[in-house]
């Protein structure tokens, strides 16, 4: 018996019992349609995440963090400091293309008539050229580390209630930051010095000048007064550094996660002026600089600044694991998006498995219909089986005949089910897009129907149907031809 014979025979038999075949196939169609639409949703979600990662180049991005403070307290050795030297060290690791710190500071920005307090971020040109900063809503990123251009995030647009990001391009952005510098303290010490000296001169008790104790008290009072004036000047009479920039682009806002984009991005070289000769007003940063002995480092070197995070751009052709190990060996904590994606893929695997189980339950129910149909068919065609055996059909031929029929039910059901499932996803997608538009969410595709899903759905339907046909086929093969032919 040839494959063509089996095909011809099974289609002929199914066609003969149209209603029964239609109902049985319908069960498979519904099950496969459910399977396809559910897994299509899972595949759509996975693709969206994967595309987002790829779009931002996260597969080749690693974040580095300072050591865990609680662990530092327990350890004996000197804790690693995530400062400029560390950034230089990290960028020298083989496979690291670029290392740049997360360097944010509070600023006041003025655009047109609006003034608002926000946070700026200093980035080198090479950093803004990476995929992580490629999601522009309008314009482009700045070029050059001392560029007088700045990029603003779309979060700023929301604050300014500007809808068209293009309208901001080329606009003047005045950025100002208060910095506490040594000069302001020293100036305050010497400010009013003549009056102070005059007052002090009047207070001198000339008859006690021979007393050493008096001199000692006088010295203590003077030092205390001088330090008090210095502190007063340092903390209250801060300098305001202002810079006027032009907005070159508007970038997609990211306020959450490990790849945050602040409201204003300024070229690192240009942003240095907000720090030159000054100190951070962040007490933790000040203490860090003091501890590392870089409080009075040369201007512009920013050697004393400890960063909360350093981003590494990796060579996509190099495995991330050795780089991660190398960073960890330097005492830092790491976060790899590639590693995170592995976990996400695991999640989607379990998610899809869960959905498959639901589809499988539906298909098992449909397969009971197949078993019923096939058993009914055997009962009705017992004599035909006897005739075929008398003509020389082997048990195997009879088994194949019935398996071909159940396989045909599965194939037709799976094919129509895939089309039906696809139709369901299209309808659901249109509805989802309408909701997204209404809610102001950027449109994205919830469902995808990759070739592997089409193939798996078809094989799933076919295999389950064949399994369902095993018992009836075996029963048909066992039919005794003499008994079968005796049944009139």
């Amino acid at each position: 018996m040839t494959f063509q014979d089996l095909l011809h025979s099974s289609t002929g038999n199914l066609w003969r019992m149209k209603l029964r075949s239609f109902l049985t196939i319908s069960g498979v169609v519904i099950a496969i349609a459910a399977f396809v639409s559910m897994l299509s949703f899972g595949a759509g979600m996975q693709r969206n995440v994967s595309e987002q990662y790829d779009k931002l180049g996260l597969f080749s991005t690693m974040q580095v963090y300072p050591p865990d403070k609680s662990k530092i307290a327990d350890s004996i050795g000197k804790a690693a400091v995530l400062d400029q030297d560390a950034v230089r060290g990290l960028s020298a690791i083989p496979g690291v293309v670029l290392a740049y710190p997360f360097d944010a500071f509070p600023v006041t920005v003025a655009i047109a008539d609006t003034v608002l307090a926000t946070t700026a971020q200093a980035l080198p040109e090479a950093a803004v050229q990476t995929k992580l900063f490629s999601q522009m809503r309008a314009g482009a990123v700045f070029t050059g580390d001392s560029s007088d251009q700045a990029v603003v995030s779309e979060d700023l647009l929301e604050i300014l209630r500007i809808k068209d990001p293009d309208s901001l391009l080329g606009q003047r952005l005045v950025v100002s930051a208060k910095i506490a510098i040594l000069d302001s303290g020293i100036v305050h010490v010497f400010r009013g010095l003549p009056a102070h000296l005059h007052e002090r001169f009047d207070q001198i008790r000339w008859d006690s000048l021979n007393n050493g104790e008096y001199w000692s008290r006088l010295g203590r009072e003077e030092v205390t007064a001088t330090l008090s004036r210095f502190a007063d000047g340092f903390l209250n009479a801060r300098s305001v550094v202002t810079d006027t920039l032009r907005i070159s682009g508007v970038i997609e806002g990211r306020t959450h996660g490990r790849a945050t984009v602040k409201s204003v991005i300024i070229a690192a070289g240009r942003a240095a002026r907000f720090r030159t000769g000054g100190f951070s007003d962040d007490p933790a940063e000040l203490l860090g600089a003091l501890r590392s002995g870089t409080l009075f480092a040369p201007a512009g070197a920013m050697g004393g600044k400890e960063y909360p995070q350093v981003t590494l751009s990796l060579d996509p052709n190099v495995a991330y694991e050795p780089i991660r190990d190398s960073v960890k060996a330097r005492g830092f904590r790491t976060f790899s998006y590639a590693e995170e994606f592995k976990e996400i893929r695991k999640f989607f695997l379990y998610f899809n498995l869960g959905l498959s189980v639901v589809g499988l339950i539906a298909l098992i129910t449909a397969s009971l219909g197949i078993v019923n149909t096939m058993v009914m068919s055997i009962i009705e065609r017992t004599r035909e089986i006897g005739v075929l055996k008398s003509l020389g059909a082997e048990d195997r031929d009879i088994r194949l005949l019935f398996l071909a029929e159940s396989g045909m039910i599965g194939s037709i059901g799976a094919t129509i089910g895939i089309l039906f499932g696809w139709l369901i996803t299209r309808v659901a997608s249109v509805i989802a897009h309408l909701i997204m538009v209404r809610e102001g969410i950027p449109k994205f595709e919830l469902f995808v129907l990759p070739p592997w899903l089409i193939l798996s759905a078809f094989l799933f339907g076919l295999v389950v149907s064949l399994v369902a046909g095993l018992y009836p086929a075996a029963r048909a093969a066992r039919v005794d031809p003499v008994e079968a032919l005796r049944n009139e």
Partner: protein
């Protein structure tokens, strides 16, 4: 109770053997055993020196597919197939190439006078025509032996005579024929030998005419 008990007989190639007896005498069982449809609980059947009992199920199926043609009282045509397809079915299991099947089936049906009935379903044919289709199905694979179990049982006298004549003609062309029937008169005209069965046993044997050939 045994359907067939203690029967011993040999068949020569080209012989026309008639097995007669009352209903339930074991004629059909004997034919089923000889055709390899049934298996004896004891004893053996030899076909040209090969015992059927020593063959496995596949080999017995191959024996039925290639060497045996069977005709039944109730025709046993498949109702939803055309006459042509019913005949073609016999070629499904003996490895006849697909393109030859239609040609061979058409030729044998034409030979049996059914050229205008090729696309008719059994329900649209008369009893005689149905039996001729069944004979065509048995003959299309060019078997060594034709077993006919009450081939005229469901036919009127004219049709019955025609079918027996057809079988006799095939025998004259060299086909070995075993016919189980209770119509002794008709067999006396054509058969070489008649054996009579009663309660599963061989009750008598009549040699009517000689046959030249070897034992099959």
């Amino acid at each position: 109770m045994r359907a067939v008990d203690g029967v011993s007989l040999s068949l020569r190639k080209g012989e026309f053997l008639a097995v007669v007896g009352a209903s339930g005498s074991g004629k059909s069982t004997l034919l089923n055993l000889l055709a390899g449809l049934d298996t004896p609980t004891s004893g053996q059947i030899e076909i040209e020196g090969t015992a059927l009992g020593t063959l496995n199920r596949r080999e017995v199926a191959a024996y039925r597919a290639r060497r045996v043609g069977m005709v039944f009282q109730s025709f046993n045509l498949i109702a939803h197939h055309t006459a042509l397809r019913n005949v073609e079915l016999a070629l499904y299991f003996n490895h006849t190439p697909l393109r030859e099947r239609r040609h061979l089936a058409t030729a044998i049906l034409e030979q049996l006078g059914l050229s205008d009935r090729l696309d008719h379903r059994p329900g649209d044919l008369s009893g005689g025509e149905q039996q001729r289709v069944a004979i065509a199905r048995a003959l299309v694979k060019k078997p060594d032996i034709l077993f006919a179990d009450e081939p005229t049982g469901n036919l009127d006298l004219d049709n019955a005579k025609q079918i027996i004549q057809l079988i006799a003609d095939l025998n004259r062309q060299g086909l070995t024929v075993v016919v189980a029937t209770h119509d002794l008169v008709m067999m006396q005209t054509h058969a070489h030998r008649i054996i009579r069965m009663s309660y599963g046993r061989l009750a008598g044997e009549t040699i009517l005419r000689g046959v030249t050939g070897e034992t099959s």
